[in-house]
Structure formats: C-alpha cells, structure tokens
C-alpha cells in the first residue's frame, strides 16, 4: 500500500528531445505527487508537484500528467538539455497526515548533446 513504482531505471535522450518518466502508486489516500531532481553530491530539489484534482500541470519545460483512475503519473521534460542530466524521483504523500513522502527508486537521465 505504500509503494511507488518508477520506470525506467535509466534513460538516454538526445538534446532537444522529450524525456518521459512514469510512476505508479497503490495507496489511493495519496493526495500530493511531487517530482524531485537530484544532482550528484546534492540533495533532492523540488521540481514540480500536482494534486489529484487536476490532470496536468505545466511549469516551463516540465509537465506532470496525472491519471487518477489508473493511479499513475508521469513527468515530461520538453526540449531536454544536457543540464537536465540528473536523477529524478517521483514521490507521493498524504498531505493531511504530515506529508510523509514515499519515493520511487529514481530514474537516471542522461541528455546527449
């Protein structure tokens, strides 16, 4: 009930291409779904987040798509750049109960120039 499954484990995209990372969750009580970006030697940085009352949220080149019935959400990075090369984590939580984040295993993204 607490798992968040993330795929793929790693991803190689050409510069200018679209990077897509998928996550699936089990606990229907989750109501907050953030994505974090982590560079080597750094902590995770909040990238974008969505609540289940909307199906899509866009911030610059980053878009979250959310499918409540399928219990899935995904991150799309448009016009991917070499500087986007990092590890991306999806997460889920129940905001009302202290926002304890349950993370996916991560996706290592490499953008080739």
């Amino acid at each position: 009930q607490q798992q968040v499954k993330q795929s793929p484990q790693s991803l190689i995209v050409q510069k200018g291409g679209i990077s897509i990372i998928n996550c699936a969750y089990e606990n229907t009580a989750f109501d907050y779904f953030p994505w974090y970006q982590q560079f080597p030697g750094k902590g995770p940085a909040l990238l974008i987040a969505i609540r289940p009352d909307v199906s899509e949220k866009k911030e610059g080149r980053f878009t979250i798509s959310f499918n409540k019935s399928a219990k899935q959400f995904s991150l799309h990075i448009m016009d991917s750049q070499p500087g986007d090369s990092a590890t991306y984590f999806c997460a889920a939580s129940k905001m009302e109960y202290g926002n304890k984040l349950v993370f996916g295993a991560g996706t290592i993204l490499r953008v080739k120039s």
Binding site: L46, N99, F103
Partner: protein
Amino acid sequence: DAGVTQSPTHLIKTRGQQVTLRCSPKSGHDTVSWYQQALGQGPQFIFQYYEEEERQRGNFPDRFSGHQFPNYSSELNVNALLLGDSALYLCASSQNSNQPQHFGDGTRLSIL
C-alpha cells in the same frame, strides 16, 4: 535566504559507535523530516518533528532517534551503528506539515 543546512557533510564511523547529525531548517520553516538514502535508491522516511515532538515515524528501529530544538533545528542520533547504516542522511523542512518539503544536501555517513 539560506536553505536547509546540514552538518557535517561527511562522516566516517566504525560499527557499534554512535553518531549525531544536525540540521537547520530553511528560514520560516517549523517542521523537520529526516530521510535515509542508500546508494542508488530513493530516500526513505525516518521521522518528522514538529513543535519539538516526533509526529510521525517510518519503519526504522529505535536505534534511530531525534530531537527538535525551540529554534526548529533538529538532530538525528543513531546508536550501535551497523554497516547497513551507511547512507546519505537527508533533512527536509517545510512551513507546516502540509507544505512542500525542501531538502538539504545531506550528510554522507560511512560505517567501517
């Protein structure tokens, strides 16, 4: 505006020892959560502190304990260290428990 700061950045201990890690939350934040990130994995929730009390706890043994001070800073203590405790320990803070969490860069703990 300083973000979440953690100290030390790196630490080497031997099995059986005890360690204390420290965290200063982002200005204006009153809630501190601790996570353990093993190499190649996502962070795992240890516990959360609010108003100097442990509010929530993840699936970690009692060897892991913490404290929050009146200025909202926090400590993570781990007793009787095991090889498996080697990991990056992350602190995250938020303004109230139902707001987004912001992470520090962590303390890399190595157990020999």
